[in-house]
Symmetry: C2
Subunit: 332 residues, 2 copies
DNA sequence: TCATAGCCTGCACACGTGTGCAGAGCCAAT
DNA sequence: ATTGGCTCTGCACACGTGTGCAGGCTATGA
């Protein structure tokens, strides 16, 4: 029975400092009307009891929790875990805390409603497709939402994503200039806007140059599936002389398969280009030519948009596009 | 002025259903004393207003937030991001939500106190060293804490970690049986218990076999630093014939350096052994021999311990050790 | 000495929910 | 008819904080 002590409340601090409970509240509220001398006395008492204001009660009273919900999918992919790190860091720096929901692609609705129960001030959804029923539920709840690296066709909710279409076009130019004739594409998950646009950019630019995509397989954004896709593509005859992968993870899988299973030299026999510029692409052994999505930029633009929407500075639905840039390394 | 509607409260539901507010609360409380017929009427009204109980208010009233704080470091390392995924999933399955704090190794105290302000029911700290001042602050706050993959010497707080010491010993046996004579060690960060114990296990077992660690360098658990360490070690003469790395990330870095910069054949010229059994180690190109930490087991034991401590079933400080096992692949 | 203005402070209510307690209604047994 | 017991409901208080409003105190000027 030693530390059965309850957590100290503002009432206890007030009594110890010889002031009212309101004074304690004001002492902890920046910019509130309170005499310096009083604040100091309150702070001293608070330190003595190691009092910390109860954020739950504060949230209830102020009708704002300073919580932002993040629904994260595919965290095994380093791209998304890094994105999470950057967004969290930035949110924390702005005085918000992160309520995390890890989702296996579906079930989003349940997680979302749980987030809403916790009165989050906003929700960031990464890489997952929002059911349209949930989109309207959110709209109605009035909570801001931002989709990252994905967007909805019918434009009801804000989004931030990189310029995937332009990235695809840039890769087309790069490969054609390198003299490639049979350009194959390993796509990501079918229902993601990001993967769709990357393929579309490639296809459109090739068409402008009088070419077409030589062959296409789905790699589901994952290593094993991409390796399978690469095996199928590289078994074609004539064999493709370039592989554009919608993902660095898949590009590295393809690279491994090309080198160790097909004995191909990269880039002499085959170009391989990825998308993301993940840490792994940097490794000397891979030296992967890829498209930089400017992850940090994407994260901070997402957070900025979220905060602006929460504060009411931004009332309209926004679709932010983050520019991409080619990273020339050794595989093209 | 269409959706200026405030979120519906239990009061609104009660009025619509023609019952008292208490009845609404009871309808949403499993096992509460309420007639089936009343519950149904309440639920119908709730659905009509799409009412969801306010978790913040509930937390305040029940003095329990059903939030668990997680302080995460080194999320770039796939091991830790996977750990986060598993723990979150399991917590969510048990009706808890996760309050995430991403930390750059230090500053932990600030994040921790923020978590406490949000009245989290418990805190899980991964891989970071807790300042002893914070350890006592936690102790005093009465909130359960579990350290994962790290522990404190002075045993004040519970922990879950794999049997790093035994893992080190197993690797020693493996390498000696493979006929290796000059076994070098690439260690992780100096102040982590995990890294320390892995090295200690190796050293102790080698000593029992009449051998010593041939050389040792720190790789800070990171790719670039480990590559540097590998370069230094492989430049020694005579050159080591085995590299035990405290981490898969570092083992793969060493593997790349050994093959592409020193032209060594693995395992003919050199053994490389890692620790974690990450997805990357699985890749055929690497085929890394490593120590499986049974990540999922670790995660679920952590969550179980946390939940047991929260519910009061477990009052004492526990140190759970998760068994490890060797994974024989192609690099030893 | 008195009036006035200005700075602070305390009162009291609000935020939305959980729950102990007393009592209402009903059924069955005596 | 009376009593006892059982099931359910509503009242009212509690959780810990923010904040509008009125009023107290001090200083200044007349």
């Amino acid at each position: 029975m030693k530390d059965t002590k309850k957590r100290a409340g503002s009432h206890d601090v007030a009594r110890l400092a010889g002031v009212s409970r309101s004074a304690v509240s004001r002492a902890f509220t920046p910019g509130a009307y309170i005499a310096d001398e009083t604040r100091e006395r309150v702070m001293a008492a608070a330190a003595m009891l190691d009092y910390q204001p109860n954020a739950i009660a504060r949230s209830l009273s102020k009708n704002s929790s300073r919580l932002v919900g993040i629904i994260a999918t595919d965290l095994e992919n380093p791209f998304y875990s890094q994105l999470l790190v950057h967004m969290s860091t930035e949110l924390q720096a702005n005085g918000y805390a992160v309520l995390l929901m890890v989702s296996r692609s579906s079930h989003i609705d349940d997680y979302l409603s749980k987030l809403l129960q916790y009165q989050v001030d906003g929700v960031i959804v990464t890489a997952a497709t929002l059911s349209s029923s949930m989109a309207v539920a959110l709209q109605r709840s009035g909570r801001p939402v931002v989709l990252v690296n994905n967007y909805l066709r019918d434009g009801g909710v804000s989004s931030v994503s990189s310029d995937n279409y332009r990235g695809g076009r840039m890769v087309a130019d790069l490969l054609v200039e390198a003299g490639r004739k049979r350009i194959a594409f390993i796509s990501g998950e079918a229902n993601t806007s990001s993967g769709r646009d990357r393929g579309l950019g490639l296809k459109d630019r090739l068409a402008e140059l009088g070419m077409t995509i030589y062959a296409q397989e789905s790699g589901e954004y994952r290593h094993a599936e991409a390796a399978e896709a690469a095996r199928r593509l590289l078994s074609l005859s004539p064999r493709p002389d370039a592989l554009f992968c919608a993902n660095d993870v898949m590009a590295i899988a393809a690279l491994m398969v090309a080198r160790s299973e097909f004995g191909l030299r990269v880039p002499e026999d085959l170009s391989v280009v990825g998308f993301d510029d993940s840490d792994e692409a940097t490794r000397q052994t891979f030296g992967l030519t890829t498209v930089d999505q400017h992850l940090d930029d994407m994260a901070s633009k997402t957070v900025s948009l979220m905060l602006a929407t929460i504060s009411g500075d931004e009332k309209s639905v926004q679709h932010v596009v983050v520019p991409v840039s080619l990273v020339y390394r050794a595989t093209h």
